[in-house]
Symmetry: C2
Subunit: 154 residues, 2 copies
Amino acid sequence: MVLRLRGEGHGWKGRFRGCGYRWTLSRKAIIDVLSSTKDHMSAEEIYNSVQKNYPSIGLATVYRTLELLVEMRVVMRLDFGDKRARYELAETFSSKDHHHHLVCNRCGKIIEYTEFIEDEVELLEKTEKGLSMKYHFKIDNHMIQFYGLCKACQ
Amino acid sequence: MVLRLRGEGHGWKGRFRGCGYRWTLSRKAIIDVLSSTKDHMSAEEIYNSVQKNYPSIGLATVYRTLELLVEMRVVMRLDFGDKRARYELAETFSSKDHHHHLVCNRCGKIIEYTEFIEDEVELLEKTEKGLSMKYHFKIDNHMIQFYGLCKACQ
DNA sequence: ATTATTGCAAATCGTTTGCAACTAC
DNA sequence: GTAGTTGCAAACGATTTGCAATAAT
């Protein structure tokens, strides 16, 4: 019987090493922050949160790490029309809690919805397959956003 | 028999006046550029294009106009993960030529697809209705993007 | 020991803004 | 004439980068 090694809870270390990267405190701290919330955090928010436990980690490192994580497909970079980029663990984004977004064009309010998703997902999978074949794209995520006016802004 | 006034080809003037804005040369020039292409142009690209015919129009005006047009729902602001915002006439975006996007995570290549759309649209309309009711959102557009690796980048 | 990673401060770059001149109405 | 609009240059803010110090392997 062989033990399944899980490393830092998700095999993070192995995943980094496998890509030729090192497993560092900064990276762990940032992934921890992202793991601890479902919010769409900006780089600066992540930085502030990381600072509470590791005051020595700099903002540049947060940016560099996020870039790396996006490249590794560990996090998803989102855009809601406010200027800053927002980040969310891909795992959170794509799991059974998969959700899409409703964005208010005036105040920027964002509503995450998970209802009506099953049908969407089913259809999207079909579409995904069709697109993959036709365009030879290897698709690994998708995003749906509805734009309009929220109750308050109408 | 009453004539239908069309103004500048789309009743632009009336549309602006109706919102309390003025119909100016800059605005016409920018809308003309957007009307002449299906591309997703950045503010600077629009500026460069406008410059060819109207060298006196400044970049700041382009930004201010685009902001106004987004607010008026005349244009749709898009984001493909390269830093700059990109713009497309809402009309182009939402008409029968309605399309969605495939975005390559590595090289940023964008493929517009129009196939597989009918089913999507049908479903989205249903979803839209459901979301509107539940969240009291007035939805007037949507966006679907698939992310992955294009043929060349795999 | 070797090489990736980091913090810091400076630089970059898309976008916004203050203001006086200008233009649509 | 009265606002809304514009060009210009300066300001802004998010993100990136050079570099010497530091940490992971």
